[in-house]
């Protein structure tokens, strides 16, 4: 924000080169985080292209998923089964700073990309492999897909809160929630190790377990159970907090209400015009009388009242009154939402097939190195010529 304020300041990772051999979303997202922070990411694609090029949604034959995950990257097609092309990958690795992969161990062995081989051939390289269960897990476990990972890690069993035994555990939002969570840890570790590389000139191997990311995100609930301070159980409610907080249907969508204190309760009573049913509750019921029967009785009355309200006016009034009630926003609500607009979370950028599109970016606004969508996802092999030419020069 000072010395180098230009139209487009360089990203935080400017000057660093990352090779991506990933073929699942977890590794692809790891490298996306690094690319959006300014690293040069060279995506190695097999002939025929990355699997996500063939995953929807599509428009005019192009995958929106691929376009989202691979903006700011370069694409180089290499047939790693071909010794000549595998040798080119080695020369790319020799000049790169990090390698991001998400294949299982047999694939890494077959392609001479195992941790041991890389450490021997490229000791300066930071090498990260993201897998469902981490290195050393049984091979048949490593084919787990995101729905298997989020079930193996416990979040599915406990989501949504209060799900009864006869309803299935849920996969979470969208198709790739556990991949994105793992990508955050992987990108964090790669960048941390790259700092060490600056100091020591040496690389490291980073083994990320997607399931262990899931466990880590619930540390202050699950750890109390493994430490014997809370009882683990088969209850679907084992992660819940109790209390009346949940989503409710209103006139034009849904709201989420969270209440834990007498202050919340009094504010809500005021917001509702202090109906007679509310006066039957103790003022401090949330703190001292928050039993399931009261929660159910509250929800029944509240649901009837909120069903007649519009989500934006009532949640705005709630915020002003000190009630933690918010709209359950949908995809269509966000790009024109005043706070998202203020922060520039969605960036309009071009795509050769889609035209201008609103790209969701990062949750961190960095004053000196803002995240920027500088280039659309590459066409298959778009950068082969450039990479081969620079290889010849080298």
């Amino acid at each position: 924000m000072t010395a180098q304020t230009t139209a487009h300041p360089a990203g935080a990772l400017a000057g660093l080169t990352v090779i991506e051999t990933a073929e699942r979303v977890s590794g692809e997202y790891t490298a996306k985080l690094l690319a959006d922070l300014g690293a040069t990411v060279i995506k190695i694609e097999a002939p025929g292209g990355a699997p996500t090029r063939r995953m929807g949604p599509f428009k005019a034959g192009e995958s929106a998923l691929f376009a989202y995950l691979n903006a700011n990257k370069k694409s180089v097609v290499l047939d790693l089964a071909n010794p000549g092309e595998r040798a080119l990958l080695d020369r790319l690795l020799a000049r790169a700073d990090a390698l991001v992969d998400d294949h299982d161990e047999p694939w890494a062995e077959t392609h001479a990309l195992s941790p041991a081989v890389i450490a021997q051939a490229h000791p300066r390289l930071v090498h990260c492999i993201v897998t469902p269960f981490g290195q050393g897990a049984p091979p048949e476990w490593q084919t787990a897909r995101p729905i298997n990972v989020i079930n193996a890690g416990g979040w599915a069993y406990h989501s949504p809160s209060e799900t009864p035994n006869d309803k299935p555990p849920l996969k979470g939002a969208g198709r790739f929630l556990s991949d994105y969570e793992a990508g955050i840890d992987a990108a964090l570790c790669v960048m941390a190790s790259l700092l060490r590389q600056r100091r020591t000139g040496m690389g490291q191997f980073i083994d990320i377990s997607e399931v262990e990311v899931q466990l880590n995100r619930i540390d202050c609930v699950l750890d109390r159970m493994i430490a014997g301070e809370a009882d683990p159980s088969a209850a679907r409610t084992a992660y819940d907090m109790g209390g009346p907080g949940t989503s409710f249907a209103c006139k034009d969508g849904h709201v989420f209400l969270f209440m834990t204190t007498r202050g919340h309760w009094n504010a809500l009573r005021g917001l509702m015009g202090d109906p007679a049913w509310a006066r039957e509750f103790r003022e401090d019921w949330l703190e001292f009388d928050c039993v399931p029967a009261n929660v159910a009785r509250f929800r029944q009355h509240f649901a009837a009242w909120i069903a007649g309200q519009d989500k934006l006016p009532i949640t705005e009034a709630a915020q002003k009154a000190g009630v933690a009630m918010v709209p359950v926003n949908t995809a269509a609500d966000l790009p024109r939402h005043e706070q998202f607009e203020h922060r520039g979370f969605f960036q309009q950028a071009g795509h050769p097939v889609f035209g201008p599109v609103a790209y969701p970016t990062a949750c961190y606004r960095m004053s000196a190195t803002p995240v920027r969508i500088a280039s659309a996802a590459p066409a298959l092999g778009a950068d082969n010529r450039e990479v081969e030419a620079s290889d010849a020069d080298a």
């Binding site: 079930n151 990311v213 088969a234 989503s247 969605f346």
Partner: protein, 402 residues
């Protein structure tokens, strides 16, 4: 002059955290578990609620112990001018400052970025707030399930045809902390390249939004608004959790013909394999409710873990839906050190949820449990700030160190 050599890629990086509850402390934990020296500013006059939950001794509060391993604790009363001056001296010796206190509170204490960069010009400061640090709604505060609802994520999680109730109510804080740690390390790279620090303004709402980025981008491209869809997957079928013996469930994801045949074989479901409605992925997707019901009838008799193992051995991705008792007693997770032991002041040692990473060579060591309140006062005041013992004693007597 770090307190002790813990190894790891962030060895030599010092972080000061002015944080409470979960998101901020989680950011500090992530950095500490990578080898950074992370100092938590604490005070009896403004205690982290996590030291109080459960109504127990503030030095052995389970919530606090479960997050703050390898964190150092220094006591300072930030409600006194002298205390604030000491915090500023600590900032001057730190690479990164992280906070997640109420909007405006850092500025009111003179700890905003513009003030702190005068003390430490190359400082990296990260503030975690529900909506970020400014903007029309920047003043608002909230709880994790609120920011998940605001973010677009909750709208995508629910059983089909029902009110979207979102992820478990605990979801959100820890991920916001992880993203804060990520951004801080990115900023260290920029500092290495240019010598310049920066301010990182993190929105917890947007953290959740970034986890549904592909759905939002898809909407922008196709105009189709995504909704909560149970366990539906447009490219896999069957795809879901299927009921097993007792209250258990097993997740199954079938992406191709071989996996479909493998599933039918394990379930001895020749009639499903032969049913023309289910012969292709398109057919299975079109008839998925009938298919899911038929499969549920077949899976219900099986033990969830045994069925998942049989399916995996037949090449079908499957895994038991793990409850908290399953997770806490899982031999694979214990053997892999997903849970590991750290020191504990009360009982000698305590199991914790270890980091998701293994790094070698030079791994970061995670050995020390959460600190006692003020456990590292001497280290911070004497070794880092260079105060004499009589000065420290005086600050304690006057409750500046409290």
């Amino acid at each position: 002059m770090p307190m002790r050599d813990r190894g790891g890629p962030l060895q030599g990086v010092r972080v000061l955290e002015i944080t409470k509850v979960w998101a901020g402390p989680y950011a500090g934990k992530m950095l500490a578990h990578l080898g950074a020296e992370v100092i938590k500013v604490e005070s009896m006059t403004n205690l982290d609620e996590m030291r109080a939950y459960g109504g127990v001794d503030i030095d052995s509060a389970p919530y606090f112990l479960s997050i703050n391993q390898e964190i150092l604790s220094v006591q300072v009363n930030m409600k006194t001018p002298e205390g604030l001056d000491l915090v500023k001296q600590m900032v001057a010796q730190s690479d990164i400052v992280i906070d997640n206190i109420r909007p405006g509170a850092m500025a009111r204490s003179g700890l905003d970025y513009e003030s702190l960069r005068k003390i430490r010009p190359d400082l990296i400061q990260c503030s975690i707030k529900m909506w970020g640090s400014d903007g029309p709604l920047g003043y608002q505060t909230g709880y994790a399930p609120c920011f998940a609802a605001l973010s677009g994520l909750t709208a995508l999680v629910g059983h089909e045809g029902e009110t979207p109730r979102g992820m478990n109510i605990r979801y959100g804080d820890s991920t916001a902390g992880a993203c804060a740690a990520l951004a801080c390390i990115a900023a260290l790279h920029h500092r290495e390249s240019t010598g310049e620090g920066q301010f990182i303004d993190l929105s917890a709402v947007e953290t959740m939004t970034s986890l549904v980025g592909d759905s939002l981008f898809g909407w922008s491209v196709t105009g189709e608004v995504p909704h909560s869809d149970g366990n539906f997957h447009p490219e896999m079928c069957p795809h879901g959790a299927y009921p097993c013996a007792g209250v258990d469930w097993t997740s199954i994801a079938v992406a191709n013909e071989a996996e479909w045949q493998g599933l039918c074989e394990v379930l001895d479901a020749g009639d499903l394999a032969a049913d023309p409605r289910f012969a292709t992925l398109a057919g299975r997707l079109a008839n998925r409710h009938a298919l899911d019901a038929a499969l549920a009838g077949l899976t219900r008799a099986h033990d969830a873990a045994e069925l998942a193992e049989k399916l995996r051995n037949a090449g079908v991705p499957a895994f038991k839906s793990m409850s908290s008792i399953d997770l806490a007693t899982d031999t694979f997770l214990w053997a892999r050190e997903a849970y590991r032991m750290v020191s504990d002041h009360r009982t000698g040692s305590r199991p914790i949820i270890g980091p998701s990473w293994r790094i070698s060579p030079d791994p970061p060591r995670v050995e020390r449990g959460a600190p006692l309140l003020g456990e590292d006062n001497q280290y911070v005041y004497r070794d880092i700030l260079g105060l004499r013992q009589d000065e420290i004693d005086d600050l304690i007597a006057r409750k500046v160190i409290d």
